[in-house]
């Protein structure tokens, strides 16, 4: 049951109506049952057990941390909880990858011993709530938050259905206080939630899924394409990934608002970033802040004696872990490593670059900002090649052919504009591509207007400016959006970040 399916929309509408009449003391139980019911709808029984296990381990260990007599016992229970959560993640997500690579290494070395092959299990949402559990345990250990004594509230914070499958990775300090005081949302909050949800659906079915029809055939068989086709496919993937994930996030945030819960925003115009570090402050914010607080900072502290190399090495290691979190595949590790490399080089070259900009008079100019955005966007797009490709070999082919085969692509112009356009449009309709790009521009403009409005009033919601348009304008807007979603939307595909 995905967010864009009819059965989900009917269920969530009924849930919302029912939660209005449920007594306030029982609302947490109602939402908890609904959340577990949502997870159960995927018909994978062991996932329910995994969620329950992660919840109970995190809850129990946090209480033991608090009641621990000395620092050693607190540390013991923290690590017990962390390892408990990680072992769950390892079993569900990484065991086949590890055994496969170990077997490959053993075959190379001895050829005799082999580990038994393990079937890849479905790990829907596990990465997200395991990380949430770990952050909760560390926060309790560091006394940043009090451990939650009410198992129901804690269980709901782990399983709350809008954020269960793809995050955001919530911090206990944000979510738990809201769950302790559940009440029906105000009309303004409901309106805001509904608009955000609609925007998310539009991003997903009108843009992301449409772009996927261009990209999937290319990255499914990369060797059938070359030159500009691969460049275009990579740019389109950058857009698809953003609209798919931010679309999901908007839906999750919108849904949560309908139940009077504010989740953490996950995106802030990431492709306007002026450096890779800035990119990670804008992309998947809940995850990047998690790895910053719980992996990078402890690593940086541990490597503080490494002088200049401490921070770059910490960044590299952090992002290797980040790559591995995204998927049990060397492609994701390569992707993460690439970002770690970008950040490391960024840190090491910060002062020389600043000196150079000052010397040529570009310091703090608009030209520099645009140049930085251009470079950052292309560095990120290059890394997306590894994120999307099926194997490292395919990724290297795409990277190589995108540049080396450009003359071959341009040679098509000699046989006629039509052949060249077909090549650029990846063998599909040019008008379909233009429609998708027009939708990208429209939604991006809406987002830009929202960001601008938010800068003026930081307390306002993302689409608050839409709530000020007259009711007749609203009727036209809703009509157009509904048409786009229902008639122009592409048939539902899964969410990309749901696989992580």
């Amino acid at each position: 049951m995905t967010f864009t399916s009819l059965s989900f929309l009917i269920c969530v509408s009924l849930l919302w109506l029912m939660h209005l009449v449920v007594p306030s003391k029982c609302r947490w139980a109602f939402l908890l049952v609904a959340s577990y019911g949502f997870y159960a709808s995927f018909k994978v029984p062991y996932l329910l057990l995994a969620l329950l296990a992660a919840t109970l381990v995190s809850y129990g260990c946090a209480l033991r941390i608090e009641s621990g007599k000395d620092a050693r016992s607190k540390l013991f229970w923290m690590w017990t909880g962390i390892l408990g959560n990680l072992s769950l993640l390892f079993w569900l997500k990484y065991l086949p990858f590890v055994t496969c690579n170990l077997n490959a290494a053993l075959d190379f070395l001895s050829g005799g011993i082999r580990f038994p092959s393990v079937q890849q299990l479905l790990a829907l949402g596990v990465s997200y709530y395991v990380f949430q559990g770990i952050s909760y345990l560390i926060d309790v250990y560091l006394e940043a938050v009090e451990p939650e004594r009410h198992l129901g509230y804690f269980s709901l914070s782990m399983s709350f259905f809008p954020k269960l499958l793809q995050g955001p990775i919530e911090r206990s300090g944000n979510l738990l206080p809201q769950l302790r005081n559940l009440s029906p949302s105000s009309l303004a909050m409901l309106h805001s939630g509904f608009n955000l949800f609609l925007l998310g659906v539009c991003k997903k079915v009108v843009i992301a899924d449409r772009l996927a029809t261009f990209i999937d055939p290319v990255y499914g068989h990369v060797h059938n394409y070359y030159g500009i086709s691969l460049v275009v496919a990579t740019y389109l993937f950058a857009l698809q990934l953003y609209f798919d994930f931010s679309g999901y996030t908007d839906m999750a945030l919108g849904l949560a608002r309908c139940f009077n819960i504010r989740l953490t925003p996950n995106f802030n115009a990431p492709y306007l970033a002026t450096s890779t570090a800035d990119f990670w402050r804008r992309w998947h914010i809940s995850f990047s802040s998690w790895i910053l607080d719980y992996i990078f900072k402890p690593l940086q502290f541990s490597l503080r004696d490494w002088a200049r190399l401490g921070v770059p090495v910490s960044l590299l290691l952090t992002f290797l872990v980040s790559g591995l979190w995204h998927g049990a595949s060397w492609c994701f590790v390569a992707w993460g490593g690439l970002h770690g490399f970008y950040l490391a080089v960024g840190v090491l070259s910060k002062k020389p670059r600043a000196r150079l900009c000052k010397r040529v008079g570009l310091d703090k100019t608009r030209v520099l900002t645009y140049w930085q955005r251009f470079v950052t966007f292309h560095l990120v797009c290059f890394s997306w090649i590894f994120f999307r490709a099926a194997t490292v070999k395919d990724a290297l082919y795409v990277a190589y052919s995108s540049v080396a085969d450009l003359p071959r692509s341009f040679a098509l112009l000699q046989s006629g504009e039509r052949d060249f356009l077909q090549h650029v449009a990846l063998g599909r309709s040019v008008s379909e591509l233009l429609f998708a790009l027009a939708a990208v521009v429209t939604v991006s403009t809406l987002g830009y207007l929202g960001t601008g409005a938010k800068r003026k009033d930081t307390k306002s919601d993302e689409l608050a400016f839409l709530q000020r348009i007259p009711f007749w304008g609203g009727a036209i807007a809703y009509g157009a959006v509904l048409y786009l979603i229902t008639i122009c939307g592409v048939s539902a595909k899964g969410f990309i970040y749901q696989q992580f």
Partner: protein, 386 residues
Amino acid sequence: MATAGSSRTTLPRLIACYWLRLLIFAALFTVTLEICARLDDCAKYGAPFWEEYSNGRLRSRDKLGFTYNLPNAKFEKWEHNSLGFRGAERDKSKKPGMTRVVCLGSSESYGLYESPGKEWPAQLQALLPGTRYEVLNASVVGLNLKYFEPYLQKHVFPLKPDVVILVVNPLFYVTNQISARMEESGPTGPAAKEKPSVASCKEKLLANVRVFPKLKQVIKQAVVAAFPDTYRTHEIVTAKRQLQEIERNRLKGGKPLETVPAPYLANFGGDLGGIVDLIRSHNSEVILTSYPALISKDNLSDYEGVFLDNRRFCVELSMAGIIEAFKQFSSVTADVSKGKKVPFVDMQMLLPKSTDFFGDNVHYTDEGAFLFASNVSKTIGTLPTH
């Protein structure tokens, strides 16, 4: 200062204002949807913005009442060339050295569910060498064997085809035979004798609103995806109810036939044989095909809804009668091909009975059309002069 009296008058006014705003909102919302639908049609299909836009643009009836395709007509994915056929533009006169192949059937050959350019005659063109073969799709939705002769005379023989491939819908033939016996049949059979119904205002409005059919289709797809079993049950119940209504009107108390009567089959054989002779008299070769269908006795329970939907076109036969009819007519077609010594492609056996190849009981998917075309192309290769 508000008084009790003023609050009493304000409240009804507030309620009226509220309802008025809601009505205006709903009206603007609907108008926006309709404008979007029209703009979408304009952009996608080049449809007119203001005029009526329906599949009626594709066909017309001549003075004798026979249906034919309008040249250069266009509706959604269906597009006719200047000859009134689906497919690439063709000259009326044949190019020297080219073998002209004309495909003649009804909606299954015209193309219903296939992507544009994937109906079987178009796929046949793609399979045959383009430098030697030219394939024309002369099929018309609803074309009946009874009307093949006038249609061939007017629209096909002037093109001087070298090969004519016939795909004959058996259910239309049965319906036509029964209608001929029940009443004096005109060129269009029972339809000509029905009193023309006057569309109500509501029906006229719905016919002109483009967004409702689109929304209906989307909602149907969403319901089928979300509740497949419930939808299937509902589809079957609705189809049965509609069939009972159609049976009441058409059979007028009579019972549907359990099998096609032998005289009908004999007439079919005679008529088909006559068409074969007619085509050959115009120096064209003939290829006959059996009429493939999805449903059989073995899979009826899996596709009951599809079958009931198809039975609306021939309530004169029972469910068993229809399943049997395809076999009976296939057998007669095979006999005619043997007797007339023309190639016969038994599509009924060659097309697997699966929804991978069938969009409904008698229309094909892209894959089904490809299989159809590839089997025909093999047969064309065995013709003596080709």
